[in-house]
């Protein structure tokens, strides 16, 4: 039993690491990932959480 328990822990840890190693999923009906990025204006931290309380149109884009 202890060996099975330790094996299960190892598997869960591996899965957990693997899950964290993937980029966050963006799905309708779920929270938009609350990643923190530097602001283009002044480099200060900014996240989608700064805009909670308002409807937000978020566009992911590039200038190229």
């Amino acid at each position: 039993m202890p060996r099975l328990f330790l094996t299960a822990l190892a598997v869960l840890a591996t899965i957990a690491v693997a899950v964290r190693a993937q980029p966050p999923a963006i799905r309708v009906g779920e929270a938009f990932p609350a990643l923190v990025f530097p602001s283009l204006d002044d480099g200060k931290p900014m996240s989608i959480t700064d805009f909670h309380g308002s409807k937000t149109v978020l566009v992911v884009f590039a200038s190229w």
Binding site: V17, R20, A21, Q22, P23, P24, I26, R27, V28, G29, E30, A31, F32, P33, A34, L35, V36, F37, P38, S39, L40, D41, P45, M46, S47, I48, T49, D50, F51, H52, G53, S54, K55, T56, V57, L58, V59, V60, F61, A62, S63, W64
Partner: protein
């Protein structure tokens, strides 16, 4: 309205926003931590931060704006930068995940000097997890950023391309990663010109009476070129400047040549854009009082190059020590050897640091294409 940009050089987006008269908060995701594989993408997010529509269409907007406000968790929460000390301690545990997160934080939040540490960490991550595409991509971003800084190392650009190429080989559907290579790659592989809008943007902004937002790294060469369906062969009438090899050689003591090769990203990898970076060593500097340097390209049998003779312009001042860059494109024949090589030489006017003696020298190069 809020934006997240996918840019190696975010300040270019600032100029773009000014040009288009757009003014809304923008977050910078140079590492593509979101993991998006296409742009542009539009998400409609309600008051509680829940995504209500992705790749939104007109009908989505109407329903979204008409919906009752969401409740629960609907208070703004100010974002905070990560605790670098805590991430450092976690990274000391040595797991690839922890090292990557710390390296990402160094790239995004710390001073430029910490790029060295970030690049070292990314290198350890990809060694431990060679199949982790995102780690290779992040490494490439950091290397290119260091190349664009005062702290650049000679092989940073080449290593960045190699890292991005490796990332794309792991996940060929990653559009953002593909575009990052194509930004510097051959015209045959370009979907569109990347930064050819910069000149027009500056003109129009200036015409409005405004001062264009500054750009730290000017787009050049490949970043400005338009796509092409073929490479126009350099005319046979162009003659080599030193056909009998009579010019005395510089073995690299005065000028160092660093080639960077950027392949096409599709299945047909016979097209390449070659960047030649010429850097004065501690023993030499450019002499700009005589005339421009020249680069002669001698491609392998059957290959097509867009230019065989390239003029290498100098600087305005009499002497200088800047890095000079030249680019050309080559398409190898179907039955090309792997790896192929393109040879050539550079002719330049240079002065020795020791006693100021000014010389006209030739340095040969042989650039490897492929593996």
């Amino acid at each position: 309205m809020v934006g997240i940009i996918q840019e190696q050089h975010p300040d270019r987006c600032r100029l773009f926003m000014q040009w288009k008269g757009m003014d809304f908060p923008i977050m910078v995701d140079s590492l593509d931590q979101l993991g998006v594989s296409a742009v542009p993408l539009v998400y409609l997010i309600d008051e509680a931060g829940v995504v209500r529509a992705a790749r939104a269409r007109r009908s989505d907007y109407e329903a979204f704006m008409a919906a009752d406000p969401a409740t629960g968790g609907a208070e703004p929460q100010a974002a905070a930068a990560p605790d670098l000390d805590a991430l450092s301690r976690w990274a000391d545990a040595g797991t690839p995940e922890a090292m990557l997160r710390y390296a990402d934080a160094l790239v995004m939040w710390s001073e430029r000097g910490d790029l060295d540490r970030a690049i070292d960490l990314y290198g350890r991550v990809v060694k431990a997890r060679p199949d982790w595409g995102a780690a290779h991509f992040h490494l490439g971003v950091a290397l290119r950023r260091r190349f664009d800084s005062q702290n650049r190392r000679a092989d940073d650009f080449a290593r960045a391309i190699a890292a991005w190429d490796r990332a794309l080989s792991i996940d060929p559907n990653q559009y953002i990663w593909r575009r990052r290579i194509q930004q510097f790659g051959p015209r045959l592989d370009k979907p569109y010109p990347f930064y050819d809008w910069v000149g027009s943007a500056r003109e129009q902004i200036t015409a409005r009476g405004q001062v264009p937002a500054p750009i730290a790294v000017e787009p050049r060469g490949a970043e400005l070129t338009h796509p092409a369906r073929s490479i126009a062969q350099s005319p046979d009438s162009v003659q080599p400047p030193d056909p009998d090899a009579r010019i005395d050689r510089d073995s690299g003591e005065l000028i160092r040549i660093d080639p960077v090769t950027v392949p096409a990203t599709g299945r047909d990898r016979r097209a390449w854009r070659v960047h030649l970076l010429l850097t004065p060593t501690a023993h030499g500097h450019w002499n700009n009082e005589v005339g421009p340097g020249q680069i002669w390209i001698d491609p392998p049998q059957g290959a097509v190059v867009d230019r065989r003779l390239i003029e290498l312009p100098g600087a305005a001042e009499a002497v200088s020590r800047e890095v000079r860059e030249a680019e050309f494109e080559i398409r190898l024949p179907d039955a090309a050897d792997k790896p192929a090589r393109v040879n050539g030489y550079v002719l330049y006017y240079v002065c020795e640091e020791a006693d100021g003696t000014c010389l006209y020298r030739r340095q040969d190069f042989s650039v490897r294409l492929g593996e």
